[in-house]
């Protein structure tokens, strides 16, 4: 009877022998060491980008992207490294353009271009540009590092240019195209953008309409647990002191699932924070939703447009809840959204009032293309760093 440790040794030896023999069989040209561990499997949809791209690393992003018909380009997760020796910190889980709602001014049509399950366009060299790497099979995603202009200009130490990793793909929505783009900046910001372009709708070439980019963002600051959603509002004036102003930090919708609206006079921002993850000032790490708005869209068609009547929604992260139209149902129970796994839903709408630059009528045909109109928002770190990022 073999003792327990001898048995373990024997079994382990057979495992190592098996792996070594297999590696030899598949790679006859190489002479691997039988004690060398096989390389770590890296997901085929993983992109890791260190910044700056042309010097010693300061920060880095690890991104898992995905594609599908309907939703186009989505994120499965993104992790940020604020310094070379730090561990990856998760920032987001699943992120997607959950819906693209396009109602026309005359009341009809009213398109839901994500629900309609369109495919992605194949990308070509012109679209990828000189620095873009084409990903996917079929090739439909572009990955590139862009200069983002000045990151800062300091009175003492001068300025610095910033960079960002960008992933984009284009949804083929019949006559229209939606460029879905995620950017990962060297300072920890994630940019969410959707650009509307293509041909104006046949027979309604000159009719105004809206493009409501409606996002689902599973914010996971240092992981999915212990995340809370706060609203930050600038208030002015305050009381009788007409020159005074203040900032209010309060739980989103009283700390329960629901909605809030963007107020231009309050500079409404959301802040998703993890109370367990703190920086050197003992401040909780957070990522803020920074609106970049053309306006607030409100649509009053059938009942399923209720989801468009507010600018921000927050839910718990529950399996199967990825459809923007269903938001009123998702929040019906008003579950807590403090210290839990949360999802933020953001409306980013653009108004398309057609212009001659969109194209021209030639007989019964419409020829030309609408230039890209971008909508979106940023997710910006707050108290994630201990000091100014990328500063000397």
């Amino acid at each position: 009877m073999l003792s327990r440790w001898k048995m373990s040794l024997l079994a382990g030896g057979i495992v190592v022998l098996g792996l070594w023999a297999g590696a030899r069989a598949q790679q006859p040209d190489k002479e691997p060491s039988p004690f060398q561990a096989p390389p770590q499997a890296k997901p085929v949809n993983e992109v890791i980008q260190e910044f700056p791209s042309n010097d010693q690393m300061r920060t880095a992003w690890k991104v898992h992207w995905a594609t599908s018909t309907g939703f186009g380009l989505t994120l499965q997760g993104a992790w940020f490294k604020r310094a070379p020796k730090e561990k990856w910190m998760q920032v987001v889980g699943d992120c997607r353009l959950s819906e693209m709602f396009v109602p026309y001014h005359s009341g009809s049509p009213r398109f839901w271009d994500i629900s309609y399950n369109f495919s992605l366009c194949k990308v070509n060299k012109n679209e990828a540009g000189p620095h873009g790497k084409v990903l996917g099979n079929p090739p439909n995603v572009v990955c590139e590092v862009r200069d983002r202009g000045l990151a800062y200009v300091d009175t003492g130490k001068g300025g610095r240019r910033g960079q960002k990793l960008v992933l984009f793909a284009t949804l083929d929505a019949a006559n229209y195209r939606y460029v879905i783009e995620y950017g990962f900046q060297d300072d920890g910001v994630i940019t969410f953008r959707v650009g509307s372009t293509g041909r104006n709708y046949g027979s309604r070439e000159w009719e105004g309409h809206m493009h409501n980019g409606l996002w689902r963002v599973d914010v996971n600051v240092d992981g999915p647990a212990n995340n809370s959603v706060l609203v930050m509002e600038h208030m002015e004036p305050v009381g009788e002191q007409r020159a005074n102003a203040k900032t209010i930090h309060r739980p989103f919708n009283g700390g329960r699932e629901g909605f809030e609206d963007w107020d231009p006079l309050k500079f409404t921002m959301l802040s998703i924070q993890n109370d367990k993850k703190r920086n050197i000032r003992n401040q909780p790490a957070a990522w803020d939703v920074m609106p970049l708005r053309h306006g607030n869209a409100r649509h009053y068609g059938p009942d399923n447009e209720e989801c468009t009547r507010h600018d921000f929604w927050v839910t718990q992260n529950r399996t199967g809840e990825i459809y923007y139209v269903k938001l009123p149902k998702y929040v019906a129970k008003a579950e807590p959204i403090m210290n839990t796994d949360v999802v933020v839903w953001v409306s980013t709408a653009g108004h398309h009032e057609p212009r001659s630059e969109d194209g021209e009528m030639k007989g019964t045909s419409f020829e030309g293309v609408t230039q890209l109109m971008w909508c979106g928002f940023d997710l910006r770190p707050r108290n994630v760093f201990d000091r100014s990022p990328l500063y000397p």
Partner: protein, 197 residues
């Protein structure tokens, strides 16, 4: 050693010997995790269909229920969850069935009325067939090179004659440019072609 522990370890050892090990080529060739295989889609469709009482090999017919699509849901790495979409003509209903592909079970089923829903491939084909056969559309197709694209369109006003119907807008594209007229709708519920000039 506990026999329950011993068997998997020895099994792993034998599997490693037989498989030829894990190489980078194996990893490069595998499908990304966001791609649903044909088998997974088939399984999802079957399980959701069974929950709806649809026979596995039944031909979908307008007036009944059509399988529309399967969405892969965000989930932990150990899970494989999908949402199956069916459309029922009667009542203009979209049926969402959440399926756990690993456990091979239906987790939930919900019905939405007048919900924006993609067209099934067979509905797209039917719309094209009806449009091509329409004597008012035929002359348009005979000038230049005309291609047809289909997108769903919903009529949302309760008083509209097409409210609650399954309607496809057939876009006509001649020599690379969309035609402003005629506007061709195919009402799949009544199987009629409607032209607007």
């Amino acid at each position: 050693m506990d026999p329950i522990v011993r068997i998997p370890i020895l099994g792993l050892a034998l599997a490693a010997l037989l498989s030829g090990g894990c190489t980078s080529a194996d990893r490069d060739e595998r499908q990304p995790n966001f791609v649903l295989s044909a088998d997974e889609i088939r399984l999802a469709k079957t399980l959701a269909g069974q929950a709806l009482g649809i026979e596995p090999n039944a031909q979908s017919r307008p007036g009944h229920v059509v399988f529309v699509k399967v969405d892969l849901l965000p989930a932990a790495d150990s899970e494989r969850l999908v949402m199956v979409h069916h459309y029922r003509y009667e009542g203009d209903q979209t049926i969402f069935t959440m399926v756990d592909l690993r456990a091979k079970e239906v987790l939930s089923q919900e019905v939405e009325m007048h919900y924006p829903t993609a067209l099934a491939p067979e509905e797209v084909e039917r719309a094209l067939t009806l449009a091509r056969a329409d004597e008012r559309v035929l002359p348009v197709l005979q000038i230049g090179t005309v291609t047809m694209e289909v997108r769903p369109i919903q009529f949302s006003k309760a008083g509209d004659s097409l409210f609650g119907h399954r309607v496809a807008h057939v876009l006509l594209n001649r020599d690379g440019n969309y035609l402003a007229a005629p506007v061709v709708y195919v009402d799949l519920t009544s199987e009629t072609v409607i032209l607007q000039n």
